[in-house]
């Protein structure tokens, strides 16, 4: 509330707040580092899975591209993560405890297994030495990779940031799909033409999942989802959708066009270019999606309505997250158990 009349800060709104200030403290994470970390991590994780698939199905070119991409992305993402720490010199404290309650702790431990595996897989591939170790690393990275891709969804959802928190169901498939598509993009963009076939399938599945989840994120998360309509987020998310669709479509088209067998060299080159462009589009799409999700969350954190309105509605409908308020609030007596808390934002 504000003094009436004179304060322009709080317009007449259907909800009340303290001078329009946010209820929660918005994350202090830098967008480039953290959204970048999530994007790159997703890319690395899915790429490692693709690398194993490629290795197991005898597609060394694709495998190498995937392994390299994974290692590079991991390097970038770890770099971003460390850089974003308030006290980077204490990065090692990430492994001080193991806390299942902390997605970041769980993630750190996963990364502690994944990152060396990804690096060894790439290193052995490049150098050709220790092939058995390389295979083991490739498989190991593949096992952990999908977790690397999706744990970040939990990382975001497990906060009080309304747009992330309310999107806890949508974010994991979104991130999985987006990672899948990005890795597919790597395959399409960097693998020899003859080996990138599976990437098309990955692209199509990934895109389908990502587009579905993305749509649900905005529509099925109640008021919080509207934060994704904030211009700075919506632009990126739209770009992500367009690029995803285009990338997947392009990859599929290239695949279908190229499947005719003996195409002429010009046409082959064009198809190859289309395929690589599609791959690039998918990578870019994945980045746009993550940055868009990040921005949507930030927007929802800065505006108290996203925090207050759903909670107030919950209270007023008698489905509080727990017994809330006290005497003077008739609905308190009817406070339900904890289960209600899960059903937020519907």
């Amino acid at each position: 509330m504000s003094p009436r009349r004179e304060t322009p800060m709080v317009p007449d709104a259907e909800f009340r707040s303290y001078y329009g200030l946010p209820v929660i403290n918005p994350p202090v994470w830098e967008e480039r580092e953290i959204a970048g970390y999530i994007f790159l991590g997703g890319l690395a994780g899915a790429s490692s899975a693709m690398a194993a698939g490629a290795a197991l199905t005898g597609r060394p070119g694709l495998a190498r591209a995937a392994k390299l991409a994974s290692a590079l992305a991991m390097t970038g993402s770890m770099g971003a993560l460390v850089k974003d720490l308030g006290k980077p010199s204490r990065f090692y404290n990430m492994l001080r405890t193991f806390k299942p309650t902390s997605p970041m702790s769980v993630g750190s431990w996963i990364l502690a297994g994944f990152a060396p595996a990804a690096f060894i897989a790439a290193g052995t591939d490049l150098t050709g030495r220790f092939p058995r170790t390389g295979t083991a690393a490739t498989l190991g990275a593949a096992v952990l990779g999908p977790a690397v891709s999706t744990y970040t969804a939990v990382l975001l959802a497990d906060t009080a940031v309304p747009a992330w928190r309310e999107g806890w169901r949508e974010l994991p498939p979104l991130f999985a799909g987006s990672s899948l598509a990005a890795a597919a993009g790597v395959g399409l963009a960097a693998a020899p033409a003859g080996q990138s076939g599976p990437a098309v399938g990955m692209a199509v599945i990934g895109a389908a999942v990502e587009l579905t989840a993305s749509a649900r994120l905005e529509s099925a998360t109640g008021l919080a989802g509207q934060a994704y309509s904030a211009p700075e987020a919506a632009r990126l998310l739209r770009a992500g959708r367009v690029l995803t669709a285009a990338g997947a479509g392009g990859a599929l088209a290239a695949r279908l066009l190229g499947s005719g067998g003996r195409a002429r060299p010009f046409r082959r080159r064009s198809i190859g270019a289309l395929s690589r462009a599609s791959g690039a589009a998918l990578i870019l799409a994945s980045a746009c999606t993550r940055f868009g999700v990040f921005r949507g969350g930030m927007a929802s954190a800065r505006d108290p309505q996203y925090t207050v309105v759903p909670q107030r509605a919950r209270l007023d409908s008698g489905s509080a997250g727990g017994g809330q308020a006290g005497a003077g609030h008739p609905h308190v007596a009817a406070a339900p158990g904890h289960a209600g808390a899960v059903q937020v934002g519907e």
Partner: protein
């Protein structure tokens, strides 16, 4: 142990803010004339562990007789409330801290260990109350420790000790809950029907707070979330969802490879 802040007797003097800063050597955090009544602090953060909110409302407070001759009925009240870390029973910040810098003390309070925190910042959005924050130029997360060091020495927290009207009370939570309930009862009898408790209920979304409040309006008016729920309460579901998605991802890769002709 915890706090009960009875805002009905808060006089907004901000002794709590200063006493806290003096004891904990919290830095001054900027000279800002905000125009938000007498609140130039604005909210809790890394450098503000106690924050006094000031709310001016054209409404009557209980049986208080006020006529400020403005248009309308001239009714007016000035609410003040000293906010602080809630030291939640189910504390989001503590749950998500990857380093163990945040921990639950032997007093049931939640404290950041400044020698452990690596500034990952995860605790900040994990707090449904907007309490903990990152200190600029330092990078680590800081918040009220409920004067952990003082509690060890059997002293009460600096804010509660300083509070001139004992709007801030410190003690065992059970005792405070009883006192708080009695106080609401008393105020209701005196016609202050809008008095209500906040953070007192062990069954609420954060499992009950270590800092409860007697408020005279809806929590959001004071900048408090009306129905905070610790995010980790859904964490198992979230993990399940992520696991399914990860498996899906792996499955998709498998399908893509298996389904693709060479």
């Amino acid at each position: 142990m915890g706090f009960f802040t009875d805002t009905s007797i808060c006089i907004g003097c901000k002794a709590c803010e200063v006493a806290c800063k003096e004891w904990n050597q919290v830095p001054e955090d900027g000279l800002n004339f905000t125009g938000m009544s007498y609140d130039n602090t604005q909210g809790l953060g890394a450098d503000t562990w106690r924050h006094v909110a000031f709310i001016e409302q054209p409404r009557r407070l209980g049986a208080q007789q006020v006529d400020l001759h403005h248009e309308g009925d001239g009714q007016f009240r000035w609410l003040m409330s000293s906010d602080v870390c809630k030291h939640c029973t189910q504390a989001g910040c503590l749950d998500v801290c990857p380093t163990g810098a945040l921990f639950r003390t032997e007093f049931g309070t939640v404290v950041v260990q400044e020698d452990v925190c690596n500034g990952c910042g995860y605790c900040i959005p994990a707090c449904p109350f907007g309490v903990i924050d990152q200190r600029k130029g330092d990078g680590r997360a800081w918040k009220c420790t409920l004067c952990y060091d003082r509690l060890k020495a059997d002293m009460e927290p600096a804010c509660a000790k300083a509070c001139p009207t004992k709007s801030i009370q410190f003690g065992p939570l059970e005792e405070l809950r009883t006192r708080a309930a009695g106080r609401v009862e008393e105020l209701h009898q005196r016609g202050v029907s809008e008095a209500r408790l906040y953070g007192h209920d062990p069954d609420d979304g954060v499992g009950g707070a270590g800092a409860m409040f007697l408020l005279l309006d809806e929590p959001e008016v004071y900048g408090l979330p009306p129905d905070p729920v610790v995010s980790t309460r859904q964490l198992p579901d979230m993990w399940r969802r992520a696991a399914v998605s990860a498996l899906g991802l792996a499955g998709a890769v498998a399908v893509a490879f298996l389904g693709t002709r060479r």
